[in-house]
Symmetry: C2
């Protein structure tokens, strides 16, 4: 609701208000540049394309996201690696799923995740739906044998009626397992697409420049001047391109990584993709330690220092790091949104 209400306000500010267009003060210039780098932020953003799925589909997807009974031994749900209490991440270096198997990389928050150009650190999932459908039959998360087993689990966890309600009478007991898996993933994706969590920074981008204090503004300015925003760009402050981790120096010499991860190369086998990873969105970053694809760094200031060094060959000062961190703090989903997004559903029973 609020998102929609902000639209006309934003339109007013960006199109009709001449205040910032003519404003050549430092704040005015920072605002103008920020609009170029991060566009409108999350103001007016929805992740539904032309059509929002029905409430029944979103409700089904919400339950499925929190459902453990679909996994091979009943211990894993989407929310096991994306815990609402940890801003939808899990606090682990690398996630652990069925039978305590370890995932290859760190779990990112699913807050705002649907807005990225691709999913996962190496971009091997095209969408939140693709991520969901793969998770069921991959060994670390749900570890099911096949889509037929998923269908069995859905039936025994009492989801038949909810599928009927969501999908015009679709009877999963009589449906092709692949179709059932697709409908399952679509519903989970529909729920994830609702996880849009605006921050104070979006109020700033809407023209309310007083919401950032002088330290945060200084951090924003440095973030753009140093070149952070050449990769961490767009509404999500990331999530719209791949980039080599280690432009200036090998990352593992600074992160203390236990293994060298070749990144997107593992998928494409293209030498040019070695050490390339998706640039992660920095929204909610202060709440989603540990950092990097392998969760090798716990402290945000240390992560900022490393990024300066290995990406930009900069030795950031303590003040720089402190300012940048302050700016990143303005990217956290506001409490009023977070409280609504953290609602835990009741799961179905007979």
């Amino acid at each position: 609701m609020k998102i929609i209400l902000l639209l006309p306000l934003f339109a007013m500010v960006s199109c009709s208000s001449p205040k910032f267009v003519e404003d050549n003060t430092e704040v005015g210039n920072t605002f103008k540049q920020a609009k170029e780098e991060f566009r409108n932020g999350l103001n007016g953003i929805t992740y539904f394309g032309d059509k929002r799925p029905s409430d029944e589909i979103i409700d089904l997807g919400t339950k499925l996201f929190f459902e453990t009974r679909l996994s091979q031994n009943g211990t894993v749900s989407c929310s096991r690696c994306h815990l609402p209490q940890l801003h939808f991440s899990d606090g682990l270096e690398k996630s652990r799923g069925t039978e305590d198997r370890q995932a290859p990389r760190n779990a990112q928050t699913v807050l705002n995740t649907a807005g990225q150009f691709l999913q996962h650190w190496i971009g091997d999932r095209e969408s939140v739906e693709a991520q969901a459908i793969h998770s069921f039959t991959v060994k670390v998360p749900f570890a099911l044998k096949d889509h037929a087993e998923l269908r069995e689990k859905l039936i025994s966890a009492n989801y038949s009626d909810l599928f009927k309600k969501a999908y015009h009478g679709l009877d999963i007991k009589k449906s092709d397992p692949k179709l059932v898996a697709e409908k399952t993933a679509f519903a989970i994706g529909a729920y994830e697409r609702t996880l849009v969590g605006p921050a104070r920074f979006d109020d700033f981008l809407a023209g309310n420049i007083t919401v950032l204090d002088s330290k945060e503004l200084r951090g924003l300015k440095k973030f753009m001047e140093f070149g952070c925003s050449s990769c961490h760009s767009g509404e999500l402050v990331g999530g719209e391109m791949f980039q080599k981790f280690g432009v200036a120096h090998d990352y593992w010499k600074f992160t203390g990584s236990k293994n060298v991860d070749l990144g997107r190369f593992l998928l494409t086998k293209d030498e040019n993709d070695k050490y390339y990873f998706k640039v992660p969105p920095l929204r909610n970053v202060i709440y989603t330690a540990p950092y990097f694809h392998d969760g090798s760094v716990n402290d945000l200031e240390e992560a900022i220092r490393i990024m300066g060094k290995v990406q930009l060959d900069l030795d950031l000062t303590k003040d720089d790091i402190s300012d940048l961190k302050s700016f990143l703090g303005s990217l956290s989903t506001k409490g009023e949104y977070l409280e609504k997004l953290k609602v835990v559903p009741n799961l179905p029973h007979k």
Copy 2:
């Protein structure tokens, strides 16, 4: 709030209202007998003894209950086995914790759990606080080496300030690990003591006899007549005594249990305690499958049939089972309470 408000209402009904005392209709008699078996239900019940802990302690305990970062490999929280979305149980035959290790028995819901005479199926925990403090160093759940490791985990998960707020400036960095563990358990217990979830049956016990329909009333009557309530007694419809599972027949011949669990005997080594288990509270039972100490039975009707046979040597008819199940449905925490109890907290960060 509501619980307190119900007190004067109940007092009125039970003491001054002559309606049911004089009412010798079937419903009146069922009501009177139910008051003997289940007392006031959850009307007016709190689990705080003389003094409710401060909001700061309860807030700390709420966070700790949902905190995964305290466990050995970061995957286990109290809420892993007591999921709000599954009425604070986990849907598993037997719970699984750190490194996917299996617990010896089924996890019971923690809704209303503090009201039981002892905790766990064999009564080896005296209180919710005793259960909590043991969990940290037992191998299945948190699997920590000792209280010192718990303290380290608390510090690294940024709990120092919250302990200071809750416990008059207590600095966990400088405190004895055992004391820190006790304060941790006290806070978790304080949170669990807030999980009181009244049901329609409590409205009935408060004198509002029309809230149970004729089938539920019939079920209640049979529940008392058949003798179920001789063990499943008191406010929680259970949780106030041990009883042999298999008074009339060996339970494992009916439950399909994979192993024979000797129950409380394992603790006391007293032959008289063989196959004795705590009588579980039946509140929220329709939402907390699978059933029995080993989760050996998935279907509630089947569980009712088995209880009739092995405890009472009764061959319950389909109608009996259906009526009993209807009554059990009236023991579910009402949505208005459940929604409040399912609120997920934000966990602390630096």
